[in-house]
């Protein structure tokens, strides 16, 4: 299996993307921002199409769109963290109406760019769009795979660097704010980092499927382990296991698309973690 170059590239990029998704996803689930993560991953699609319509490298569009959307959601949504008007902190999601409205509009822009793009360039638009939506991890070149690994590792380090204050701000926003932790800034920085992960992962997993790798392993880990560090490590490990298992499965069964296989394993892990009796301790409250 490892003798194929495309497989080695896929494993290199996939492993680091899975680690970044696992760790970021742990915070996403903790902060109740799964819908925001969903929106960010969908926004990757119009971003890539806009870049294609403008004749730029699609990665430029991917990163610009997801980082901008992350910032916009953090700024516009009242946020799960800023508990104003007596809302219980952390219990309610970051303003789901705002997120829903915003990303539907951005997806409509994606259709606009798709129309523009296909008016200009024959029939390749549909295939290009399908790649953006569902990814093509087996199609990554060596350079792309290395770049993906480096970016994912950098995001991983950045999240771990802000991990302690971010955790504090997520679990007890009021106390963190009173102690001088910049909770709002942390929220914006985190969503921007999540945007980078979404852009990177959507090349391998696809804009529509990335959510499974963000939410599944992290939710399973939070259900299984109560300790913070152990739970984060478990989330990263489970994401990695989903990625490796999925890639191996897709290699063994050629008709199975790799992104579908990865998500299938992530879902299976999540379902297993929900089996009663496996639960080690309460999730973070």
């Amino acid at each position: 299996m490892l003798s194929q170059e495309y497989m080695r590239n896929a494993l290199l990029a996939g492993s680091f993307i899975a680690l970044a998704c696992g760790v970021c996803g742990w915070f996403v689930v903790l902060r109740g921002q799964v819908f925001a993560g969903d929106a960010l991953s969908h926004v990757a699609f119009p971003g890539a199409l806009a870049a294609a319509a403008a004749g730029l490298d699609q990665r430029v569009g991917l990163f610009a769109a997801t980082i901008a959307a992350g910032g916009a959601i953090a700024l516009l949504g009242r946020g799960a963290l800023t508990s104003r008007g007596g809302r219980a902190a952390g219990v309610e999601p970051a303003d789901d109406t705002t997120i829903g409205v915003l990303f539907t509009f951005v997806l409509a822009l994606g259709v606009f760019f798709l129309t523009r793009f296909s008016l200009g360039s024959g029939g390749s638009a549909g295939i290009q769009a399908a790649h953006t939506l569902f990814g093509s991890v087996f199609g990554l070149g060596a350079g792309e795979a290395r770049l993906a690994a480096i970016i994912a590792a950098a995001v991983l380090l950045a999240v771990l660097a802000i991990g302690r204050p971010l955790l504090f701000a997520s679990v007890a926003p009021d106390i963190a704010g009173a102690r001088g932790v910049p909770t709002r800034l942390l929220g914006i920085a985190f969503l921007a980092l999540l945007g980078v992960v979404a852009a990177e992962a959507s090349q391998a997993l696809g804009a529509l499927l990335l959510l499974g790798l963000l939410a599944g392993p992290a939710a399973a880990a939070q259900r299984l382990l109560a300790g913070t560090a152990a739970s984060i490590a478990l989330a990263a490990g489970l994401a990695l296991a989903s990625m490796w298992g999925g890639l191996a499965l897709a290699w063994a069964v050629p008709s199975l698309p790799p992104s579908s296989a990865v998500i299938a394993i992530a879902t299976a892990i999540y379902l297993l973690a929900r089996v009663p009796g496996l639960r080690g301790g309460g999730a973070h409250r």
């Binding site: 689930v29 799964v34 219990v91 997806l107 409509a108 549909g126 499927l209 199975l256």
Partner: protein
């Protein structure tokens, strides 16, 4: 996107423009189908936002993709695929842990997993079928301009049925959405109402997304209702406003798309977004005026918050 041969141009004569739009049968069908969807989505979308289930609604809307591809693979009518996957998705989400506000995080993670799995299945079915995702635009935003007479009738029937059920359970559903503990204390079946609403949402989405595509359904579910929420917090006027905004948005979007190369789904969403921004601005201005007078609560004017204050 007009039929071949016709080359409509926008003139300053409004009556002439309108008669141009109504010249073709497919435009009339599109207007009828769009209106039925707007009414249905306006009602059920407002309830969805009050219950803070936009994420679940989005996930159910996306069930159209695995539904359509599974039906193509199995060689049955697409409607069966839509129906099966939407109902299965609604049941899966209803069975997720929590549901009460306390465990929103876990529920959201579960909804995310359901959505990713459904899309992964859809992708698998497409590649097993051997087809390419050729008509992506149609997949996402449907084909309002190709609605048959039978589909219009079907939409109207489903719309009436769902509206009737919604009207029947509206009061207990609203109470259990706004104040679940209080509703449970009064002996209302909060869990059953919640599952029932998700099923209703699933059925509505299954019926409409064949015509409008999953994304346009969702934008019609969320945008008019969000605009209505910004304008007023009282249920009856908000529902009326949501339906009215939905109708205006669909009509305007279809009319504009007739004169443009871009598809109706795009224009309807753009008009809806503009209305949303406008209503947020108006609501923000009037809330600012009120705050200068008396110190009131949040500017969001969301129904739960408002009824808690009352």
């Amino acid at each position: 996107m007009p039929a071949e041969g016709a080359n409509p141009t926008l003139t300053w004569n409004l009556a002439h423009d309108i008669s141009q739009v109504l010249e073709y049968h497919f435009m009339i069908n599109a207007l009828l189908a769009g209106s039925a969807v707007a009414v249905l989505a306006g009602l059920i979308g407002w309830m969805m936002l009050v219950r803070r289930e936009a994420f679940a609604g989005h996930t159910l809307a996306l069930m159209a993709f695995p539904g359509a591809s599974a039906a193509a693979l199995a060689g049955v009518a697409a409607a069966w695929g839509y129906l099966t996957f939407c109902v299965a998705g609604a049941l899966a989400i209803a069975r997720l842990p929590g549901g009460a506000r306390g465990s929103w995080r876990e529920e959201a993670a579960g909804v995310g997993v359901v959505q990713a799995l459904a899309l992964a299945l859809g992708f698998l079915f497409v590649s097993l079928y051997g087809g390419v995702l050729g008509d992506l635009e149609g997949l996402l935003f449907g084909n309002l301009l190709g609605v048959s007479d039978g589909q219009v009738l079907e939409l109207v029937v489903v719309g009436l049925a769902v509206t009737a059920v919604l009207a029947a359970i509206a009061r207990p559903l609203l109470l259990s959405s706004v104040d679940p503990e209080g509703a449970a204390a009064r002996g209302l079946p909060v869990g059953a109402l919640s599952s029932g609403f998700l099923l209703l949402l699933g059925l509505a989405v299954a019926a409409t997304s064949q015509v409008t595509g999953p994304l346009l359904v969702f934008s019609l579910l969320v945008m008019p209702a969000a605009s209505a929420q910004a304008i007023t917090s009282r249920p009856a006027p908000a529902l009326a406003a949501s339906v009215a905004i939905g109708l205006v948005v669909v009509w305007l979007g279809l009319a504009v798309s007739y004169f443009s190369v871009y598809p109706p789904g795009f224009w309807i969403t753009v008009v809806a977004f503009a209305v949303y921004l406008l209503s947020r601005l108006v609501a923000g201005a009037s809330a600012g005026r009120r705050r200068r007078g008396v110190a009131t609560g949040t500017s969001g004017l969301r129904a739960p918050a408002a009824s808690r204050a009352a």
